[in-house]
Symmetry: C2
């Protein structure tokens, strides 16, 4: 039997630095792509400041609504790292110094030859029923509480933790995607495109206009669970493009990201 | 009298392509930085899919909670551009073809020498009580309804619309920021830093660890409304860094973005 269940996830990005514009988030797009490979669709993201009530409110809303929630940021050793305390409160669990996390952390601290400080050991704090997620990069683990995965904000550490989270994830249907582009402007093809979308309700057709090389054009992305259907819809789009005097480009017209 | 009111804003990013990872959002960081220059702090952001109920729910939550909300994306001519219909519904207003928007759009369409299509004219649709925001880049205007500003997703168009939104915005206190970095690791300075934060409750101290040139270090960002206070707190931090054997770097240690 084909697995057709849709599994949905949300990302909760925690940190003043993302909202102030100091740091550009790099985790959202990564997680969107990687989750889809596992058959999990990223359906919502929120960015909140390092404020307890805001973190808890967002976490509670997202964990009730989605199969999985991934948090990034706020699990370091400093005063503004309050994610673990918030996750514990949200789940009504005590914040403990997790024995295995402390062991891993002390091991790494010894390797690095730095001092064992209370602040460093804060990184071993988790809600009492957390399951650890290994962090081969910097020692301090991420963790899972029910359907929530708590990860670091620094991209290479987040990515390593996400690898550790994968065995805990059960995906549903994986969405394939197929892109066709052309120098037919969006406003010229929009009506036919809408009819095509109506004819393929199982496919999500996204339209991305661009202006490149002095000419307007459109890349069209088909996303859905069945490759045959995507190819069928894309073939119909290619006919539409030719009827409008355009030349379809399979894979889409490559344009500099800023114009897309 | 010094203006000390905090003015808070949220950004609502609308579009499947951001969640699928196809497109990396570039508007959030821009708006965070630019809003602060106007004395408006970006306090939350949400990313939602092109689904009516999701857009309306997020919009209603954010517009009730913040002084201003800025939406990006979903105002083009295609079937997946549903932002204006959703904004109209959220405000209980009729979606109309706005006469002045239509005039601007027809003018641009004529300039471009393309066809006037129903799809193109869809870009002139706004909630009935919208105030237009000019779009010098591509003609189709953004608009304002009460405290909500509706803008395009393409960064250079969004930026042009944001310029047009500025005269409508009333800021409060502007937060200044000051950065001091050093090769003292976060876990070494965290305890003293927490005491420093307690001593300066009017300042927000953010701690950003890095690993660069084979050594761990930390950049510390002080944000607050009064430059004198920031300088005072930063001077105390410099002393702390020296006491720990480090060398403070004003402006912060420059590190490649991926390690930050």
């Amino acid at each position: 039997m084909t697995e057709t269940r849709r599994v949905a996830a949300a990302v909760l990005i925690i940190g003043n630095e993302i909202l102030s514009g100091r740091t550009k988030d790099a985790n959202l797009a990564y997680l969107g792509l990687e989750l889809n490979k596992l058959g999990i669709q990223l359906r919502e993201a929120r960015v909140v400041a390092d404020i307890e009530s805001e973190i808890i409110e967002a976490l509670d809303a997202l964990r009730a609504k989605f199969d999985y929630v991934f948090t990034t940021g706020g699990i370091g050793p400093t005063h503004d790292d309050i994610t673990s305390a918030c996750v514990a409160k949200a789940f009504g669990q005590t914040l403990i110094r997790h024995p295995e996390a402390e062991r891993l952390l002390r091991e790494r601290i010894a390797q690095m030859g730095v001092e064992v400080t209370e602040a460093r050991l804060k990184m071993a704090e988790t809600p009492e029923h957390a399951e650890l997620i290994e962090n081969p990069i910097s020692g301090a683990p991420g963790y899972k509480v029910e359907n929530v995965f708590v990860m670091a904000g620094i991209p290479r550490i987040m990515q390593a933790m996400f690898e550790g989270a994968k065995p805990h994830l059960k995906g549903g249907v994986t969405l394939e995607s197929l892109t066709v582009g052309s120098y037919v402007p969006e406003g010229t093809i929009a009506t036919e495109l809408s009819l095509l979308q109506d004819a393929y309700p199982d496919i999500d057709i996204g339209s991305y206009p661009f202006f490149f090389d002095g000419r307007p054009g459109t890349n069209l992305v088909f996303r859905g669970p069945e490759t045959d259907r995507l190819e069928e819809a894309a073939a119909r789009l290619c006919d539409l493009i030719r009827n409008l005097g355009g030349e379809p480009v399979e894979g889409g017209v490559e344009v500099p990201k800023s114009d897309d």
